[in-house]
């Protein structure tokens, strides 16, 4: 590979990798956080629906942050995705166990 080619590759990659998408991810996280806090602070939404909003906002925010900030949407991240998904399955099982079985 000539040095010219690699320089070209770098400049195109840099343009592609600007701070814009990270600021979008930040603003999105901010909005999702504010919605979650507002839902609880208002105290006017019924409990079940508040729980649904909270879990929804958290899952979307985590997805956004993992995809953009932890680079999981980038190429060559299949292994990390599989690893984290496996961890999530274990955690999900444990949380269900703790919530529904412990006090029976």
């Amino acid at each position: 590979m000539s040095s010219n080619h690699s320089t070209h590759e770098q400049t195109t990659r840099h343009r592609h990798e600007g701070p814009k998408k990270h600021i979008v991810a930040f603003v999105l996280s901010l909005v999702l956080t504010i919605i979650a806090f507002a839902a609880v602070a208002s105290g006017e939404i019924n409990t079940t629906f508040t729980y649904i909003i909270l879990v929804g906002m958290a899952l979307v925010q985590v997805f956004v942050q993992m995809a953009f900030w932890m680079h999981m949407k980038d190429r060559g991240h299949l292994f990390p995705i599989m690893g984290i998904l496996f961890g999530v399955i274990v955690v999900f099982t444990m949380v269900i166990m703790a919530e529904y079985w412990v006090w029976w």
Binding site: H22, V40, I84, G87, V95
Partner: protein, 204 residues
Amino acid sequence: MSAHELNGELPHEPEKATLEGRNKILGFWLFLGAETVLFGTLFSSYLALRHNIGDGPPASELFELPMTFAATMILLTSSLMSVFAVQALHQKKVKPLIGWLIATIVLGLGFLALEVVEFLNYIDEGHKMPTSAFSSSFYTLVGFHGAHVAFGVLWITLIILQLLKKGLTVVTAPKVYVSAIYWHFIDVVWVFIFTVVYLMGKVV
């Protein structure tokens, strides 16, 4: 060694330029998988025990939303600083890189200070570690997260010192990259903590 000289000499995405660097990142993801399970166990024990408050105050009286909101904002901004650090790394600009890392740890320290104040308030209100199953599992979960933040601050500080001493090389670049991934992970865990512990604790 050309790799130890700055700018131009350094390969594209220096954190993935060597096999050692790539292995470090892969190994770090394995570690994060284990961390996910660690925090999962702490979350599940908190969820199972949160209603057993004994003689202590209930979660809805204890938690203060403004405090949690401030902590959330600080950690979120800190995570953004860390992203900018990695961008500076990819542009091979050492000075901005160190600047963003310093911003990251300063905000991390702010978060820790807020958490210490919060815990001291709780202790005043009779919510101590041995008060109840709720308080023990609360301090274990949130404290573990705080300890991760403290460790991250220490770790990134040491990386800054290494950058000052050795500059940006194919050896130091993977360290910066991996510590950024760690910092985002800690922020992701906090998203679940403020949702499950604080906000759900406020909903009666």
